[in-house]
Chain length 366, copies 2
């Protein structure tokens, strides 16, 4: 039963069980050290199996974005969830009502009156309270309100609507590997100050935030600067990737999900083609000129991807030394988008396959 990874057809995602368990344990410890709740984002693994392990490590709930993801986790028996995505409209109201009637206990992010209205409607329909966190934009420029006055106003609107306002949430998506570690530390510190100021404004308006939620594996590496936060929501930390390593939040040995590939063509000495392209690795990046980090051969890089091909060349040119049939391990640039391309992963312990795990939340875009 426990076959070697060498016997697997490629390309396939390999998950190193011991690396994953170590990553889960370390982040749980980090959250405890900072006195914060750890609410892991399931978008990275998209698997009820790993969500359960994250709960085992002490997390109070799991974060998802879309209700389709919430539904998969709920079916797997995970009722405590943070839905960190703006829910608006009649279709989403009906879906959330249905999930709540099946047992879902949601905390939900909101950044508009339309979002609050939906939560109020679901509360009336189910008779169950919904905890709401108002989303604050801390500089990413995606969702969330920028002005403290707007945050206070929406919190008050939620309270008046009978929605269970609990505090604020944010996502510092602008704090990434694109910056040097020194700059990341500055940006995290600025986010920490922003959250503290917003929490103070809410307290001053008699709307104290009992929850101040922020997230991100990269930010988690610099948490001392975010004293206002009560919970952290990293996702990537379970697997890590080139982005978290380059940002200084992990090392190569902490990368627990890789794409196992085979060289299928060596049309010239200075070029090889592997059987993993954008359909296996995703086209996030390039980071440092490569669409993934080749573990066995850091002197090589993936110069471009088409859907089923990765073209591998040597840094600075010259013979790659690769042979047809040779296998290579590619650490993805962005592990979340990579995992989303695969129906399953092969979990291994020291190179022996111990499980094939469905990526059950994959493709849940609604």
């Amino acid at each position: 039963m426990a076959s070697s990874i060498d016997e697997l057809d490629t390309p396939i995602v390999l998950v190193d069980q011991s690396v994953v368990e170590r990553n889960l344990s370390r982040m749980a410890q980090k959250a405890r050290q900072h006195g914060m709740a750890l609410v892991p984002h399931a978008k990275t693994h998209k698997s009820p199996h790993w969500a359960r392990r994250q709960l085992d490590y002490g997390s109070p709930r799991i974060m998802v974005s879309k209700l389709g993801e919430a539904s998969v986790l709920l079916e797997a028996g995970i009722a405590e969830q943070f839905i960190g995505y703006p829910l608006v409209g009649a279709i989403k109201a009906a879906q959330l009502t249905s999930l709540m009637s099946q047992g879902l206990h949601p905390v939900v992010a909101v950044d508009s009156q339309a979002g609050v209205d939906l939560l109020a409607e679901c509360t009336r329909a189910t008779g169950q309270p919904i905890a709401a966190l108002v989303e604050v934009d801390t500089g990413f420029g995606r969702c969330g309100l920028s002005a403290d006055a707007d945050v206070v106003a929406l919190a008050r609107y939620a309270v008046d609507a009978g929605v269970g306002y609990q505090g604020i949430t944010c996502f510092g998506g602008h704090i990434t590997w694109r910056h040097e570690p020194d700059r990341i530390a500055q940006l995290v510190a600025a986010e920490g100050q922003r959250l503290a100021a917003c929490a103070a404004a809410l307290a001053g308006a008699d709307l104290p935030a009992s929850v101040v939620s922020e997230g991100g594996t990269v930010i988690a590496g610099y948490m001392d600067a975010v004293t206002a936060a009560t919970e952290m929501r990293p996702g990537i930390y379970i697997y890590n990737d080139v982005g978290t390593v380059v940002a200084g939040a992990a090392g190569w040995d902490d990368c627990g999900a890789v794409v196992w590939t085979t060289v299928v063509s060596t049309p010239s000495a200075d070029r090889a083609v592997i059987d993993a392209g954008s359909k296996s690795l995703s086209v996030d990046g390039p980071i440092r000129n490569s669409f993934g980090y080749i573990r066995e051969r850091p002197d090589l890089h993936i110069s471009f991807l088409s859907e089923e091909h990765g073209v591998v060349v040597r840094d600075g040119g010259g013979p790659t030394g690769l042979m047809i049939g040779q296998r290579l391990t590619v650490i993805p640039n962005h592990v979340c988008t990579m995992i989303n391309l695969h129906d399953e992963v092969a979990v291994h312990a020291d190179g022996l396959v111990v499980a094939r795990l469905a990526v059950a939340m994959r493709g849940a875009v609604r």
Copy 2:
């Protein structure tokens, strides 16, 4: 049963039936005009349903890349296939042998002796001939042999190995929307000359190429320059996308597969967020500064994507005028990678949903 697209939850892929049928008909006519076989690449639609329609329009076979895709088409009763991907190693040999014993009639691309050896092995195992096309690199720098002498040598190696050598194949993947139409015409002409020279070298070595296969929807718009080709292998033409439009190979009205999205957040007047991100649209691009073309509002563009969010701004800045709940149609930059993210598409006729079609070949990376 036939509900309006307005009743659909978003994000979802909408396929316009009449646009698709027109695209299929036009390309079939173009191939006939040029006296070429049309071997459509299934990577775009990933659906046995549309593959069957392509056969209905006169194609002799369907192109796939991976054997996992070949397997899905074969199960759907489509035995005539071109596998345009280097197959190497014992696992692939066993898979191809198995598919052939189940009725597959493959034509296969090869660019190495290892690839020929695999075909010889499968021929011996099944007692069935396999047609082989030697892959020529016409400038893309991916798979394929560059020197005519190498092409001739591999063709001879195939004949000596008892493999059914039939000619040559290539993929001009360097000929894209990144170039202006004039430059595309030049590049196509160069590819045509390269194929003619290679075919002449083979004929001179008593290895005449009865098949000269080339492909690409962009190239198909400039086919007069490729007189040596006997068959064309476009894929994207069934749906089209921003890339084919920008390259001059299609118009916006020829784009038959779009992502139907909803505005879920308007945190400021000059920014809106739609519910389609890189998990729904793919991160191919940007093209012309946008991660997709917003059909209803060409004055807007998608400035960045995260996994579940698309951030929409106005060209040059200013109020977007978008409201929460409003729906928008996004033509994807690269329709193949977009379709690969979805389990199904909703086929509609004039806004009425007529079918939900599984993307049955999605995720078949092996």
